[in-house]
Structures are given as C-alpha cells and as structure tokens.
Symmetry: C2
Subunit: 142 residues, 2 copies
C-alpha cells in the first residue's frame, strides 16, 4: 500500500484525503483478489471501520477514473482491484479464483496504426485484458 502515491495524486488533483477514502483505498490495496463494493463494505465493517456503502461506490468510481483501480465486470457482478503499476498497463484475470495480476503494456503503435487504417477511426486508447489460470490454480486443479 503506497500512501505517498495516494497523497501526492490527491493533492495534485485538489481532492480531499478524507478518512473514509483512505480506509477504502487501504482495504482495496491490501487485497490480493478483486472486491465488490459490498465486500469492501463488509470487510471494513468487520474491522469496526464503518464507512457508508454510498461512499464506497463514490470512491471506487473516483479511483477508477484516476487509474488507481481496475474495474472488472463479469456477468452482472462488478469488482475492483487496486493497481500497483502507475503507468499504462493491463491485467490478466484467473478464470478459476479471480486473482488479478498487472503487467506493462506492449508497444501497440503498429497495431493501432493498422486498426486506424482499416476502420477509418482515429485511435485514442485501448483496453486489453488476458484471461488465464494462475500458478496456484494450475497446480491445485486436475
């Protein structure tokens, strides 16, 4: 959990480092697996840290828009994972346990150029994620 990063970014954006926000960030970054708003709420509650569910929704939105968290929608469930890498990166999600790992982005300029040419779109950004099975699950499964 990188408190410095949190403070710096928030001060730069003129956002307040409130107690609830910090608790939510802390809880999220301490988890190996992605968490839903409700799970985050329950976890904090269990630790006697009462934070409103509404605030959790608001904070998660904020974190995502700041690139501090990765939002995973699978079916109708929504979960978030905090990001450790600061610059542009992507994720691989374990299909079995849901564990997420970040990795740096490849150079996609060539591909982007090709997409742009073949579709007529101006390319501004891209989202990539891989699906797979993590080491633990590979070992424990048949």
């Amino acid at each position: 959990m990188d408190k410095g990063f949190f403070k710096e970014l928030f001060q730069e954006k003129r956002l307040r480092i409130s107690h609830p926000r910090f608790l939510i960030y802390q809880e999220l970054s301490s988890s190996e697996v992605p968490l839903s708003p409700r799970e985050l709420y329950e976890n904090l509650r269990r630790k006697k840290r009462r934070v409103g569910l509404t605030s959790i929704y608001r904070s998660l939105d904020l974190f995502e828009s700041l690139g501090m968290a990765f939002k995973i929608s699978k079916g109708s469930s929504v979960k978030y994972k905090s990001c450790k890498l600061k610059n542009h990166h992507h994720h691989i999600v374990c299909q079995s346990c849901g564990r997420v790992v970040e990795f740096e982005c490849n150079d996609l300029t060539e591909w982007s150029k090709w997409v742009s040419e073949s579709t007529g779109y101006k390319v501004t950004d891209h989202r990539v994620h891989f699906l797979g099975v993590c080491k633990t699950c590979t070992l424990s499964l048949p």
Copy 2:
C-alpha cells in the same frame, strides 16, 4: 443480416429458432450502433413486434455466449452489438457516437507468451478493444 449463419449455428447447438429470438437477432443486426435491452425492446415495440423484455435479456445473453454479439459495459449502461465477423476478432468503439466496428485479431502469440512468462499464468484467452473517434465524428467535430 445473415439468416443462414443464424440457422446453421442454432441447429448445430440444438437451440430452437423461435420467432422472438429471430426478431431480436434481426433487430440487433440491423443496427449500426449498439443497443441496450430496453432500446431493443422499444424498437421492436414501435414496429408492432411485441417481444417480452425478459426474452430480450435471455436472448442477448445467449447471443453473447455464442459469440454472435459483443457486450459493451460503459459505466452502468450495458449495450450489445451484433458481430458480423465469425472468427476471433475485436472492436473499436467511437467515444463520441458509440458506433462500433469490428476488425480481425492480430497475432498475439508472442505477447501471450511474454505475459505468461512474466505473470506465471497460463494464458487461455484475451479481450481487446480500442477506443477512438469514427470518421463521421472526426469530420463533424471541431
């Protein structure tokens, strides 16, 4: 709209080609832009084709699982776009009007291998989408 493709695929999977399913598929494939379940419902209603909203949800799920449609979750809104390309492909979404275009997948074996090595995951699949601005929007916007 490729009726043959629809029939073939459904027969192969032992799925019934019901009237509502076909109407939904038809309506979805005739749209340039992605549609939400509700929009699809309204469109059909307007054409005096009454299909239950529930069936629309069920059909869209089905289409997606068969790779016939692409599901786009943006914030809390969910939309679907029918796919014309039959094999593995990706999408680029216009940030301004939402229009989606498909393009064939690049060869990602090298990248996959690298991801696998650096994360320890066995890579099974990947999702890519580009974001951009379509030709029409580029021209009509400043």
